[in-house]
Amino acid sequence: MTAAVQAYRRPTDLDAALALLAAAGSLPLAGGTDFVPMQRSRSINPATIIDLKHVPELRRVEARNDHVTVGGCVTMAEIGALRGVGIGALTDGANYVGGRQTRARATLGGNVARSSPAGDTLAPLLALDAVARVAGVSHGGRDMPLSSFFVGPGQNRLEPGEIITEIVVPAAGASAYLRFTYRSWMDLAVSGVAVWIRPDGAGLAEARVALCGVGPTPLLVPAAAAALVGPEPDMAEASRALEAAAQPIDDVRGTAEYRLASLQPLLSRALATAMSRGREEWP
């Protein structure tokens, strides 16, 4: 028998969840929008499925002045409805995921833990300098900056049994995320660019740029950000930096050549959106 799944468990507090996850073969289930088809096609074969959606600690959203804390099981629909130009890139990304039915289920923690190179919230979270709070049965919790979290396609620095309890997202500045897909909707990103900026008069005091779909992991590109900072962004230099940092491949979603070519227009449009959002905020 290959039907390895023995059980489904629904813990209602974090400690119980972590204890269950410590058992060999246990896998955490959040929204299930990737988990379920992967399990059905036997790409994952959990012995026990631990449903995290009923753990209250994972369902909270807390907005402070300078950051938003989003629980691991908060859905894309809930994130998409958040307001604030600082986290604009994140709400953009959340709203791009699937259709409404998918966004009602898919979670931020799930998207981060899945660590797809093309995950629509990942480049935004990198651009926003977000930090994952992680819990495991052996420790009370640790903070993992997402800038060093992703290590390969579907791979990250989470240890077995650990889960993302919340993501802390700085909310200053303004940001935007734009991606290319063939269809207008219901598609996975071929490539995407997230831009976060902090304006300084007419120019930019600070910026971050992150990419998805053009390498084994979502990717921060500090050199591109540096080219944007100053009284006048150097778009040519920023685009060159993106193209230098990207390591795209040909796959079912697109060609390496196209992915590279898409970065410059995506960057300039995402930047324009972020700046216009910033202008609305600070007229």
């Binding site: 290959t2 290319f180 207008s184 219901m186 598609d187 079912v252 196209y258």
Partner: protein
Amino acid sequence: MTAPHSRFGGRSDAGAKAGGRAGYTEDLAPPDALVGVVVRARSAPSRVAELDVDAAAAVAGVRCVLTAADVPKVRMGIVEQDEPVLATDVRYVGEPIALIAATDLDAAEAGAVALAPTLADTGPPAVSIESAMAEGAPQVVAGEGNVKEPSAVERLDVDRAFADAHAVVSTTVRTARVHQGYIERRAAIAAFTEEGQLVVTMCSQAPFQVRQTLASLFSMPLNRVTVRVPAFGGGFGGKLHNGMAPYAACLARVTGQTVRVASTRSDELQASNPREASIVTLETAVNESGDLQARRAVGYYDSGAYAVDTAFITSMGALQSGGPYQIPAVRARIHAVRTHLHSTGSFRAPSGPQMCFANEVHIEDIAAGLGLSPVELRRRNLMRAGGLGPTGQSIESDAALAVLDEAEAVMAAWQGSPTPPPDPQTKVGIGLAMSWWFTAPGHSSATLRMEEDGSATLFTGSTEIGTGAVVSGVRVIVARRLGLVPEQVHVVSGNTETTPPDFGSEGSRTLYGAGTAAMRAADEVRAILAEEYARRLEASLSDVRFTDGALQIAGSPETAVAISELVGAVSMASGPVVGTGRFQAEPVAFDSACATNMPLPTFNEPTFHCHVAEVHLDTGLGRISIPRYLAVHDTGTVVDRQSVIGQIEGGVVQGIGQALFEEIMVGENGATVNDSLVDYRMPTICDIPHELVVKTVEDFPSRTGPLGAKGIGEAPVMLAPAALASAIRNAAGVRLTALPLSADRVLAALREQRP
């Protein structure tokens, strides 16, 4: 008598479907039915070396494991009988090699894993037209070349015309495999009754063809096999073939139980019968004024591993070698090419999109080469009344011109005020494309039974596949003939046991064939009732009219006698009132000397079509959006307007899918890599033209169709790739010759154009 009007107008099936109550094939499986799965080969070409049948059979819940040795050796196929039920010599990834039935799906899938097939590779696969045609290419059928003899047309002296030409223009296009994309997976439920009847419930467009296959597989008389088609969830040609029926029936025969088998979406994209990939080269000899004088057309269509209906498709391709244009001298050679991929087959307007794309890129190439207006070049050369088709069939109308005139008027208005682009990087362009298509011949029959209360029951062998042709169109025709309202006509269809035969719901022919048969059945009933009425009232037969559920003398409502009364009287006097109608399209005259290997040598009841697309071309990302789109179609008489509009709107969007997004991609091993509906990208509601204008040209009624109707099911899907390519060319001057016109291709073309 007044008829009870349905709340919902024409379609009798719509309310139940929308409410989730209609029973589709998978909805009708009895709870205790066994679940069958098809075990498919994961590499090809290969030989099945080992199957662990004992291990699979030992899995809890597994009731039956069948391999090639356990199923009938009869090979299946419409044109060539070449496809085994289960393979031992595997030709393509996804080919069925074993069947498992179990108490539930999990157990059946576990059995499939336990079967652990070992396949011995027998060589490298040929996974594209080019690789199958290459020198020393691996042969799909040992000892036979991969390139089959072409469907060929040779008329007048082509070489002479090319030698004397003012100019010769050549165009080559490439198109990808695309899937019909029916939302309902193929499925079948099979059982042998205690009386020995094989009863199969399935989603089939052609249940009488499936019945034939099943009878031959099990050496049963045809009348011992019943194929029933319940509510049907989309086919577009992909459900013309046997589907899951042979597998469910083989498992049912061995287990003695009801077995249901459903394809997975992955299997649909890996192992069904999609539209073929193609490479088409057109060359034209043209004179100074732009008259097309001779055409050479060479096509290579990827037929995959087995023949299916490719011979018909290549002949349809040859008939489109000149598009809707009058070209005196023709040499067309359209070859099927075998590959180590799943077999291609009919998809709404088989060969149509690629041939329309080839013809319309070509005509724009000719216009560009000669410095002529592309629209005027088309008009100058369109088929007209008195002209001849490529195989010499007579063209009977000027419908093509009328369609172009209608389209050009709208196009001119759009050109006068194009939709403003949203930003400076977006360019606007408007383009046009034309095509000709046909209404497929084939047989139909119907029986019409008048009930004692004046209502009518029609038995038709055709199946309602969603177009409305049966539940609405045929019903409307019968009602009109008898002076009833459609709600008084009940249609029984989709059952080989209770209805007379029909060729199938395909080829834009359902209303044409089934409607004509139904009309003839109604006319027999009319004759019986009119005779009784005329006898009773001592009236002349020619004065009798059928109106409002009664017969009356023209202009004299006071003479009305209800149909119910006449039915009762006739029934008492001479027997029940029943009419039958039989139909077979009459052969179209043509020059048989010019056609070779053309199972379909003419376009029966031809139709002409024109689409105009306005595009916004994002020059940064290469993405296309469509502010406005116009579809003009030569429909003949419109019997049921909502159904006709529905066919056109749906066809346009399906065509846009092939034009912009859709492509079955295979890896070097021949396996489909985009085997899900996220990576096989069918248009969503967000991808449709902002505005779609539909116009029907009704001034050229069909000579042979019911009430003058022509087929309109397929043609709307043909033109979007060509119209969008024309519009992109108009927007940015880039010439695209491969489908899909995806953003990466568009961007590459734009970059090539820049110095």
